[in-house]
Symmetry: D2
Subunit: 313 residues, 4 copies
Amino acid sequence: MEGTPIRPQDTDQLLQSILSEARQNNQGKVASYIPALANVDPECTAIAMVTNQGQFFQAGDADTPFSIQSISKIFGLVMAMRRSGNTVWQRVNMEPSGQPFNSIVQLEWEYGIPRNPFINAGAIVIADMLVSQYSTSKLAFIGFLRQLAGTDRLYVDEEVYESELTHGSRNAAMAYLMHSFGNMEADVDQVLEHYFYQCSIPITCKQLARSLCFLANRGVDPFTDESICSRRDAHRVNAILSTSGMYDQSGEFAFSVGLPAKSGVGGAIAAIIPGLGAVVAWSPRLNHFGNSHRGMTMITRLAEEMGLSVFGV
Amino acid sequence: MEGTPIRPQDTDQLLQSILSEARQNNQGKVASYIPALANVDPECTAIAMVTNQGQFFQAGDADTPFSIQSISKIFGLVMAMRRSGNTVWQRVNMEPSGQPFNSIVQLEWEYGIPRNPFINAGAIVIADMLVSQYSTSKLAFIGFLRQLAGTDRLYVDEEVYESELTHGSRNAAMAYLMHSFGNMEADVDQVLEHYFYQCSIPITCKQLARSLCFLANRGVDPFTDESICSRRDAHRVNAILSTSGMYDQSGEFAFSVGLPAKSGVGGAIAAIIPGLGAVVAWSPRLNHFGNSHRGMTMITRLAEEMGLSVFGV
Amino acid sequence: MEGTPIRPQDTDQLLQSILSEARQNNQGKVASYIPALANVDPECTAIAMVTNQGQFFQAGDADTPFSIQSISKIFGLVMAMRRSGNTVWQRVNMEPSGQPFNSIVQLEWEYGIPRNPFINAGAIVIADMLVSQYSTSKLAFIGFLRQLAGTDRLYVDEEVYESELTHGSRNAAMAYLMHSFGNMEADVDQVLEHYFYQCSIPITCKQLARSLCFLANRGVDPFTDESICSRRDAHRVNAILSTSGMYDQSGEFAFSVGLPAKSGVGGAIAAIIPGLGAVVAWSPRLNHFGNSHRGMTMITRLAEEMGLSVFGV
Amino acid sequence: MEGTPIRPQDTDQLLQSILSEARQNNQGKVASYIPALANVDPECTAIAMVTNQGQFFQAGDADTPFSIQSISKIFGLVMAMRRSGNTVWQRVNMEPSGQPFNSIVQLEWEYGIPRNPFINAGAIVIADMLVSQYSTSKLAFIGFLRQLAGTDRLYVDEEVYESELTHGSRNAAMAYLMHSFGNMEADVDQVLEHYFYQCSIPITCKQLARSLCFLANRGVDPFTDESICSRRDAHRVNAILSTSGMYDQSGEFAFSVGLPAKSGVGGAIAAIIPGLGAVVAWSPRLNHFGNSHRGMTMITRLAEEMGLSVFGV
C-alpha cells in the first residue's frame, strides 16, 4: 500500500458518509470526572486522516481542539524510548492488563511494575523518567508535540490542568504505591504535575493525525523527513498500541478494526495505519470502557471500507 | 507480499541457521504436569514454514510429532465460528486476560464468561459448543484437522489423553465454575473429555503449519482452494491470536515478533504470516509463561530477518 | 455464670417478646438456589435456648424442622478434630476470609488451603477427611448428630439432598480446585455427596440448641455427661466460630452480639453461650450476607438483654 | 473473676518463667522498613500485667520504652468513637480483612471503605476524623494517652516520626485512594502526619498495660474511676480486637489465646483480659504476619496457664 496516494475524492466522500452515520449514535456519556471536560459540547464529531504522502482528509469538526488526554501517552513513551532505549522496559511491562485503566489492584500484585505504558500507572512511570531526564520536562513534551504537529500554537489548557491536579487523587495513589515499591525516582508531586500537564493539551484531529504519521512511516516524520525513532521502535510502539491501546476493549478493537490505536477520555481515538498514515476520530460521548462511542463507529467503518486491518491480507 | 513466492534456497539456509542458534539455548523446563509430556526428549527442535504458494521449508525434527495441546484451541474456535457465527461471542469474550492461562480468579469476577477463547476456560466453553452441536464432536474435530493437515494419519495419543483426564482437576474446577454461572450447556464430563481429546493429538511442525495457512490466505485453504472461514473471520482469529495467543507473554510477543501466534505446552509455537503462510517452531523446554524457549528464539529471529511484523511497513 | 440456673419465667417472657419484635422485620429473601429451600414458609420464626442445667426455653415454631445447612459444619469439624487432632489444621486454616462464603478467589491465591472450616471450601476439606476416615461417613455423621440432639428421629431430606447435588456445581468447582492443589484425598464425587448429605438434614431449634451445649460446657454433653471433645478444643471451636462463623458479617456479629455463632442458609443462627448453654433462632428470610434477618434481630436482642457478650464483663 | 485480686507471688513467678521460656525463641526479624526501628536491640523482652485492682506485675525490660506503632490504633479509635459515636462505622467497616495489614487491593474493591479500624487504611480514616474534629489532633492524642498511662512523660520520638514520614508512601497511596473514593475529609498530608505521629510514641509495657485497663473494666479507668467510654463501646472495641487486632493471624490468636489483642511492628502485643486487666508483652523480632515471635509465646503461655480465653468457661 505504501507509496500509493489514495484517491482524494473517494476518501472525502467516505469520511463524510462515515461522519453522517456516526452522528446517529447518541449512546454514551461525556467524561465528567472534572468540570472542564464535562462542559464539552457532546455533539462535536470529527474525523481526519493524514497520509504519509502529505494528503489531508477530514469531515466534521476536525479543526476544533479537544483535550488530548491519554493519547499523550504515545508521545511520552516515544520520548522516553529515545532517551532510555530498552531500559524503559525494566520499569514498565508491555502486557495487556485485563483490568480497567486506573486499576490499582494489579499494581500491588506485580510489585509496582505497571502492566504497560498506556494505562495510567505506566504513563506515570514514563512521566517519572521524563522528569528525571529533562530539566524542564513539560517544555520538552510540548516542544516535541509541536514539532510533530507542525505548529507552534499548542498550549496547555490551564483550566483542565488545574482541574486534573485537584481531582488527581487516584493517580496520586498509584504514584505513591509505585514509590513504595521503589519504582518512582523523581518527586511524586513533580511527576504528577508533568503527567497532568501532558494530558491537558488541546489539539485538533488534523494536528494529532499528522503528529502520529511517523509511526506509520518507519519512524520517520513524512512532513520533515526527520527520524523520530528507529523503524523497529515504531513497530514496537504499534504492537503495544494493538494489544493495550484501547483500555479493556483492546481485544475487541483488534478484532473489529485491526489497527494500532489509542483513545483518550477527551473522546478521541487515534489509529495508526502502517504504511499509509494516521487517522483520528473524535466525539466526546464515551462507552463504559472510556472509549468514544461515535469514534469507535467511525474508525470501525473506515477500517472495513478501506480494508485496513493489519491482520488481514 | 501476497503472490510472490519466497526464494527457496535462502529460506532453507535461514531456517537452518535459526535452528543452530536456537539449539544453544538450554533454558527452561519440559512440561511435567503429566508423565506422558514429561518424557519427551528435551533436545528435539524443529521449524517448518509453509507458504500459500505451496512451498515447504523446514529444519530439524520437523517430521517428528509432538502434542498439539493448546494450539488445538485455534481449530476448535474456527469450528465453533463456522457453526455458531457471532453467537460465539455471547459466551466467551475477546480480551487479553492479564492472568496466567489457567487462572480461575478472573472467571469468578466476570461471572463465568472467559476472557478469550485461547485461555483454558475459553477453550472449554468452545468445547461445550462443539459437544452440543456435533453428534460426535471428537470425530468432527480430528476430521477437520486431518482435512487441513492434508493427511488421514492423525490420531489421538491415548496415553496423553488418559493422563490429561486423570490430571485435569483444575480444568474441571473451571468447567464447574462456569456451569454454576450458567455458561455450560452439555454434560461437564463430556465437555472435558472433548477438550482433553483435542489437546492430545500428536502432529508435526509441517502438518501444523500447513493446517494454518488458511488464516494467512483470507480463510481459503491454499492446498484445496476450499473456503474454511470468511475473510473477515480469518482476520478476526488472527486479531485474537495477536492479543491473546501467547498466554501472559502476548504483549511481549507482539512487541518482538508482531505475528498472530499460539503456543502449546507441548513446546510448539505456531505463527500466522498474513499473506504469506504459516510457520511452526517446536522444542519442549518452556519458559515460566508456558511458551517454548527455543521456539521463541526461532520465531523472533525469523520475523526479524524476514521483516514479518504486521505492525511494521 | 456457670452453675446458676436462669429464671424460667423471665426467660420465657423474654423469648416471647423477642419473637414478637422479630416478626415485624420483613426484610430479606428466602434462599432460592434450590427449589426445596425456596418453598419454606417465610413467616416461620422461632427461638429456643437450652442450658447446661437442662432447662429448655422456647418461643414460636421451635419444634418445626428446618434445613440445618451450614450449621452442620460445626459437627463435621468436631468429628474431624476427634479423629485427626491437630493435623486438621494442616489442611484448613483458621483465619477469617474477608470474602463471601463461596468465594473461589482466595482458594486459588492460597494454593487450595481454605481460610477456615466454616466457609464452604473448608467444610469440603473436612468432608474429605470424614469420607477418608469413616467407612460410612454419612451414617457416622447423622449418628453423631442424633446422639447430641438426643433423638433417633433425624433423617436426611432426600429432596433437598438431590436438589443440592444437582445445583452443586460451584462447590464442585471448589473441590476440583483443591484437588488440583493436592488438598483432596478421597473421590471428589463421594466427598461432595457427604457434604451435601450433612447439609440436608432437617432439625428443630430445640434439637439443635441441645446438640451444641457441649461447646458451652467444656466439651461435655450436659445431658449425657459424655465428653465430646477436650475443654481446649471446645474453646477453640468457639474461637473460630467467633471470627468466622457468620460469613462476611462475623465482625459485625462479634461487635453487636459477642457470641460464638454459626448461621445457615436455611435461616437458622446457632450461638454458643459459654458456661450457660446454646441458643438457636430461626426464620428463613436472609440478608445479603446469607444470614437470617429475623434471626439476627432475635440473637442481638437476647445478647443485649441478658448481657451475654464474651467480650464484656 | 471480677473483683478478685490475683495472687501476687504466683503471678510474678509465672511471668518470670514465661519470660525465660520466651527468651529461648530466636525466630523472626526486627522490623526494618525504617532505620529507627531496625536499630532496636532484638534481645529486649518484657511482659507486664496490670489489674483493675491496681496491681502491677512484670518481668524483663518492662520499663524500657518501645515504639507503640499500631497499638496506637486502639486509642485513636476510642477517641473517634467518643466524638462521633456510631457515625464512625459509616466510614470504616468492622470485618476482618483476610489480607495483609497494608493491602490496598481490598480498599479498591470496597470503594475506599477500609475493612476495619485496625488495618492501616482504617486507622488513616480514623486519623482523618481526629484531624477534622480536633484543632490540634496530635496534642489531643498524646494528652489522651498520657491520661490513660498515668504519666505526663510521654513524647513523640522525632527520629521515628521523621523516618515514618519519609518511608510512608504506601500509607500515602492508601490515603489518596480513599480520597479518590470520597472517604477522606481533611488534607491528606495533615492526616498522614497525625497518623505517623501517633505511631511514633515510645511507651513501656507497664504504661501501655495500664492505659488499656478501661477496656477490661466496662469502659472505666480503674485508676481514676473516670469513664473513658460506655460499657457497650468497651465490649465493641474488644470484639473488633478479637476478630481483627492481630493482622492476618487474628483467627489463630483467637484459637490459641482467646483474648482481644493488638500488636504493633515495634514488637509489642497488648491483650485485654475482660474483668481482670490488661497485659503487654514485648520483644522486637517479628513473624511474617508482623507479630512479635516472643510476644506470641508469652501471651499464649499466660492465657493457657491462667485459663484466660473468653471463649472458654
